[in-house]
Symmetry: C2
Subunit: 364 residues, 2 copies
């Protein structure tokens, strides 16, 4: 059988630096665990714009459709801020999500014991936190038509359309229920059914999928504004949260910041199964391209490393290897090895991006 | 000159209880400060539905248009959960906002010294917090057309429309800049201009209003997802935040919960000036109708009392009286007088809703 294939898109800013560390990990799994990948690399975001004039070339898009999994670093930077909407770095990422139909975005918000002090929240509120936000990623107001800036009378009008079909809601709900069964068996669905009809449909469909296919999972519904409150008040009340593209964007970032260390958080974006049974998949850290610290060896590669761990788990059915990698990261942290963003107390060892990668490899 | 007029809409759940305490305060200002109001009272929400079959009768709507200010308690309750969308208690509130054209919703998130321990955030992050969220309240996805649940092929589709005109954005931006001038002189505007054209227009118009009319105010722009993160990370970086109806709903609730005591937070919803120069105005606590504790004397009336303080400040140009009322509330808290939701330490005195109202009157 052919080796599983990986497409690496380092992107902009700190993307290339953190991805270099992930490659060390990939090599380790090849050498020590017989898990050899066919790895190719290409451009996305500003890096692609600089070469091709678009944030994702068609050839790259085609490659992404063929591989078993895509690993992405980060996109964007001040250099590209003034570009037209249609060629901004973000459009490259949005095109990947849309054309690969990656409808289920998994965003764990997890608090590492060694880092509990980092949170702006009190320790008892945050210690041991382990929730999973499942965000719909290919529809809603991000993609709905009509959209644009129009002229009406003598003024401009900005329009976007929130649009969800029953099947779009049902498939991401299934994804959340499946995950819940392997975790705490609890799903909370969030919308604004009190003011939006699309929210009413969302709530109805999630409930129907539950009643027909997942009656064993505990399901609750919450308005998204209350959801934001409850995340701040007592996040451990949640196991899996499922919500739409826009609420998911805001609520998952809110949840991510509860942990206080963005440099630690991975994500997976999954689509339908391919012919080989693996889902279409893209893995990326939650953090951005951090242009202010790019190229200085200061970036924390852990979020990107943990994104690869998610790839092992969700694309390659290597749950044990994913656990092994996650444990290696925990050990390194417990040993007090820290990139600049994680330094806090005396007795910790400050390391560069590359040294952090080496430490994780050593811990493996 | 005629007395200024107030329409009181206690609404559902704990609404009537907390409003009863506000009436004690109103009476005190009449007796002791020569500020006599013509007060009338009417129904809204479930209470109106029970009598009229609609959550806001036309006659009540007409009255609201005529008075100098409306004070609202809260709407909603499990009894009304199964009602049709069009007659749910919330529709009464949304009708008031829309027909009075209350486009500027002021939601202070303020941490009272005596209650800093209530927050789920660490004390140094939250102590002294005083930010003001200005939420657009009469447009956006709450009201945009087309909207509804339609059938396409053999499935349902839920649709809502985010729609903002230039003038809608400009007027709420002005409201934020005006407020900033009387506070820390800083405005941060939040949208998703990286994915939504309505966000691009929002950003452009806010910037234009700033450059032409308020160049002295410090203006920054932030994506709403990052805004949620920054609120959790270091909320004191903000002074005034201005954002649209939907982001404002979620972000203001997130900000409210940072303080840890929802029972303390008031809000004002302001429209254009009337013939007498006063803005159309509705004042209401941020908390909901709390049906679980309704009728038991457990509700905290302070958010509703502080909403009346906002009325004194924004409708009646009685800034000093507003300060006096806010100081009275602070004193009562500092003295350890607490409704059930605020009890925390030994040495505090547990009081009922009514006793809390009396304590505030005594402190005045
Ligand atoms: C970069 C941006 C387009 C993107 C989004 O809004 O989805 C980001 O915020 C995210 O959450 O992955
Ligand atoms: C009750 C509901 C319609 C309302 C809203 O969504 O605006 C509430 O959440 C608020 O923030 O005042």
């Amino acid at each position: 059988m052919a080796n599983p294939s990986l497409l690496i898109l380092p992107g902009d800013g700190i993307g290339p630096e953190v991805m270099a560390e992930v490659r060390k990990i990939i090599d380790w799994f090849g050498a020590k665990r017989g898990l050899v990948f066919d790895v190719s690399e290409d451009l996305v975001g500003g890096a692609a714009y600089d070469v091709h004039g678009v944030p994702l070339a068609d050839a790259t898009m085609a490659k992404a459709q063929e591989v078993d999994a895509v690993l992405l670093g980060a996109v964007g930077g001040p250099k590209y801020d003034k570009l037209d909407f249609s060629v901004k770095p973000e459009r490259g990422l949005l095109r990947l999500r849309k054309e690969m139909d990656l409808y289920s975005n998994l965003r764990p918000a997890q608090c590492f014991d060694a880092l509990a002090d980092f949170s702006s929240l009190k320790k008892d509120i945050i210690a041991g936190l382990d929730i999973m936000i499942v965000r719909e990623l290919t529809s809603g107001v991000y993609f709905g038509e009509p959209r644009g800036i129009f002229t009406e009378g003598n003024e401009r009008v900005g329009i976007n359309t929130q649009r969800y079909t029953e099947s779009e809601i049902a498939r991401v709900a299934r994804s959340a229920f499946e995950l819940a069964r392997r975790r705490g068996n609890k799903v909370c669905s969030m919308e604004k059914a009190n003011v939006m009809e699309s929210g009413i449909l969302w709530r109805d469909v999630v409930q129907e999928v539950h009643d027909k296919e997942y009656p064993d999972v505990e399901l609750s519904h919450m308005y998204a504004d209350n959801g934001a409150m409850q995340l701040v008040r007592w996040p451990k009340q949640f196991d899996v949260i499922v919500t739409d593209n826009l609420f998911g964007d805001v609520l998952s970032d809110c949840a991510a910041m509860l942990t206080g260390s963005l440099g630690m958080l991975p994500s997976a974006s999954l689509g339908a199964p391919m012919a080989n049974g693996r889902p279409k998949a893209l893995y990326e850290p939650v953090h951005g391209s951090a242009p202010d610290i790019a190229g200085q060896g200061k970036a924390n590669p852990i979020a990107c490393v943990l994104s690869f761990a998610m790839a092992l788990r969700y694309s390659f059915d290597r749950g044990e290897d994913a656990d092994r990698l996650e444990k290696a990261v925990e050990k390194v942290l417990a040993d007090g090895v820290r990139t600049a963003d994680l330094m806090q107390n005396a007795g910790e060892t400050a390391v560069t991006t590359s040294q952090m990668g080496d430490a994780i490899v050593a811990a493996l």
